[in-house]
Symmetry: C2
Subunit: 271 residues, 2 copies
């Protein structure tokens, strides 16, 4: 709260840190830790309802339990949605097992925040923090591609999903991804025949790219209604002065307001 | 040759396909396959010296043998340089074992082309061609980061290195990479204390991004002297009409000429 006041953050979205997803555990055990974490976050939000919004965590590895806990988060705990990982252990986000959870999220109006975790190739690049600098951006692209090519966005057009870290490596590689879709539909377009570029502007990304040129790219590619201030607080890879990049860029007041708060509130479904 | 004529490609750089790097084999065996491939490419170049330039492949897993074959490529076979993978099996490109090869390449004036292969996380994303659409861009960023943070560019300032596919996910994530360097020097700046952004413009990237906005980003970030037409020929993920993206973009004739040929000739050390 002291940090929020210091940095003039009127409202912050709270979610658990990804190492506590516990997707590796037995479903019932992860349900227990999820409940504990969700109750804790809900408690803070209740204490400071004007300053915090809560996102829950779910035992995604056990879809029926996840849906139950999602309902509790939305109906009992007053949360705005959930945070999930870029994959669920063995499952990518297109796994048919996960679809009922996304379906329930759409029905309940739950926002989804996708954060990278358990980065692919971590064991192959132990030096220089590369799992965070190279692996995490790839994880986020893996998640976006899985939801696009798995037809999740196509089948659930009202689902409101946001991705961390400016979409990771997805935005810059959209040309490659679209080209792959076009030249090898036998590999890429097997579950969804719609061009991936059609989904630009249909999900949200945070603004955490640490570079004005790349923030411009995000706005050009996804539209100024889909980029939300992201801080990664309290991690060092985050924006240590929340909003600094956006405020440095001489946007007009309407765009500025959208990026700093309006878009996030729309993603969260808060009027 | 028919394809070159059809697409008005005056000159093409030939190199082996990455699956034939054979870095997994015993050094002496990979030396043998390298020699066979290099002799073959040199033979084609000899037959059509005005149409082809050759890059060799080396048994990188056996540095002394690699250096010997590199010398043969440059002195006997008349090649312009070598193509290497984004990693050498267990070694990233910063491995001290590989440094003498890079040192020899600098001394011999050999250009280096880095191509992604054996993509990290392939087993975790078998669907939708994701090893190519997500894994390859990450591989290239892994390679660039390893050469930067390992101090290879710093110690060998005359080494001429080019990376495939517009640098993969590196360009868009430069802000994150630089931020990581700044906030966790204990993890990132252990072998080289120079800001990674200082190396922008000190290596080459090909233009294969399949998107005009991203090609603009490349030019803004790396300079119009460092981007070379890349085709990925004969693979479907390549530019099926070589040069089409560059030619579609209304560059002035000087920039156009740089991107289509001049930069590549400078990278290759051909006057």
């Amino acid at each position: 709260m002291k940090d929020c006041d210091h940095h003039h953050v009127d409202m912050q979205v709270l979610s658990t840190i990804p190492v506590l997803f516990n997707y590796w555990a037995k479903g019932v055990d992860a349900l227990e830790t999820s409940k504990f974490l969700n109750d804790h976050i809900a408690g803070i939000v209740k204490q400071y309802p004007d300053r915090f919004i809560g996102l829950g965590t779910l035992p995604m590895q056990a879809p029926p339990l996840a849906i139950k806990e999602l309902e509790r988060c939305m109906k009992d705990l007053g949360m705005a949605g959930i945070q999930i990982g870029s994959h669920v252990d063995g499952w990518n986000l297109n796994a048919p097992e996960l679809f009922p959870i996304f379906q329930a999220a759409e029905e309940l109006g739950a926002a989804i925040f996708v954060h990278p975790w358990e980065m692919l190739g971590s064991d192959k690049m132990p030096q220089y923090w590369l799992p965070w600098l190279v692996g995490m951006p790839a994880e986020t692209s893996r998640a976006i591609c899985s939801l696009i090519f798995g037809g999740v966005f196509e089948r659930l057009p009202k689902l409101r999903v946001a991705f961390a870290h400016g979409g990771g490596s997805f935005p810059f590689t959209i040309g490659r991804i679209e080209h792959g879709f076009k030249v090898r539909p036998d590999l890429v377009a097997v579950d969804n025949q719609v061009n991936p570029r059609n989904y630009l502007g249909k999900f949200y990304l945070d603004s955490l790219v640490h570079d004005p040129l790349m923030l411009e790219v995000l706005i050009k590619l996804f539209g100024e209604d889909k980029i939300c201030l992201g801080t990664d607080y309290p991690f060092p890879l985050g924006e240590l002065e929340p909003g600094k990049l956006i405020e440095s860029m001489n946007f007009n007041s309407i765009t500025r307001e959208k990026l700093l708060s309006k878009n996030a509130l729309e993603w969260l479904g808060i009027k």
